[in-house]
Subunit: 321 residues, 2 copies
Amino acid sequence: MNILIIGGGGVVGQKLARALVARGQLRGKEISAITLADVVDPAPITAPFPVHTVACNIADPASVASVLSAEVDVIYLLAAIVSAHAEEDFDAGWSINMMGTLNVLERARALQTKPVVVFTSSIAVYGGEVPDPIVDHSFLNPQTSYGAQKAVGELLLNDYSRKGFVDGRGFRLPTISVRPGKPNRAASSFMSSILREPLNGAEAICPVDDDFPHYYLSPRKCVENLIKGAEIAEADLGQNRCMMMPGRMWTIRQMIDAMTAVAGPAPANLIRWESQPDIQRIVKGWRFDLRPEKSLALGLTADDSFEDNIRYYLEDDKPSA
Amino acid sequence: MNILIIGGGGVVGQKLARALVARGQLRGKEISAITLADVVDPAPITAPFPVHTVACNIADPASVASVLSAEVDVIYLLAAIVSAHAEEDFDAGWSINMMGTLNVLERARALQTKPVVVFTSSIAVYGGEVPDPIVDHSFLNPQTSYGAQKAVGELLLNDYSRKGFVDGRGFRLPTISVRPGKPNRAASSFMSSILREPLNGAEAICPVDDDFPHYYLSPRKCVENLIKGAEIAEADLGQNRCMMMPGRMWTIRQMIDAMTAVAGPAPANLIRWESQPDIQRIVKGWRFDLRPEKSLALGLTADDSFEDNIRYYLEDDKPSA
């Protein structure tokens, strides 16, 4: 079992790689090698088998060909230009998120090895004129370039799979919280930083009101679901290989209360409330009443409580003092 | 008012050009020029203003740039590799239907003139795991490459419009019947030929049973709707600029009975019934219970009866003996 993680330098990619190393096998076969590819050379991972790290620009077909060989059995395609960045830089978003996905699929097709491709889409594909709740057969009406690019990626993945070029499966990730590391250019960045920074003893800005509802999943559950997602039998995927990944709807207030329940009252006092219309304009178009029936039926799961999300951060990610 | 029709050599493109010439104006402005672009130089049209005909390969950005100038106010983007052709030739389908659409939008963006773009999508975007009836917020789950390419085109058109680069509006065309001319490589080709050939005194093959239901529109109504489509106020398009074009559901039996009602019993005897599994595999994935509420509310219309479809063919298209 040879695994390529494109976006292997990112938070989810690194956690996924470590979880795969701990597990030792995927799809019933012992893992023999993992390659972590990202726009800059990813951090190495210790494992009892070779873990290669390599720089790759998925917008460049030759660069994709250099990392994707016929030996690869499973490709995790996690790399993306995130939402606010894609909104600012129209060309970079379409080039990486659409053409990059196409380049990976085209390379896989040329190899004629039908690798499994696990693609991370996003709940940013939802928006616009679609009634709540969002169900498996709700229209994708993205109101951001990022969402549009992910929706195109889903169509590509489905058609390349229908033709038998790849065995694709796509998962619309909820917003990951508590995401470790630094703030990034995703419009959703604050949805982790208002918890992460205070839990680390630092201030954070909340740009929306505390009744803002959104749909979340912890990094730990996300990685579990990505592993399960690679293992779903192809026949069970049906006529649409892309589906919501389960999450849970929480308001900012519920998330902060969960933080207080787990870590005491001090962190919440480090949150500064500062309305940011640019961020609000993006995130208020996102949908939060999601019913991921298909992925739940296929065995994927959400967090049991937001207290769990807080605990997972403290256990897995909080920097030691 | 300067109009560019890409796909101007096709049946709909030619009829649209003639209807625009007869009308003399579009969006409240007198038409000053029409350019008909197609993969081979389109047939010329007589008009009281210049009608240019030009060969253009939309898969080639330079070729698109040569036909799309800053003078163009309205672009009709009708050109496409049709369904069975796109299913056979995977590369040609994605190259023309997706990259061609992207090339037109990119050229329009570079011009910074925000032209109106009327894009013809198709009801082939529907399929798969989506319950009937198909409504405006039903998921697009195409089960052909052609359908997937049109669905991608819609996402591109919406995002380029949301960004203000173009004023796009897309219409998912029902199957056009009775389409004049020769059979083509669309899987739906028989849905016209079983009427057209007998009305012309020739034999035709029907590859499906007579209870096969599908969703149709006459060329005359299609052209009317494309003109109305260009004239919808941008503000009325809402958060999704792509919608079904109204049509009506008919079975093969109803269509043949309508032909008999209008033209007598002789034509129906020229139909040979011959089951064709390849064609059936494609067309049976298509959806027919469609509810085009949005476009009806915006003033687009369907045919009143299939007898009308037959009459329009006899009036507009039947070759003189």
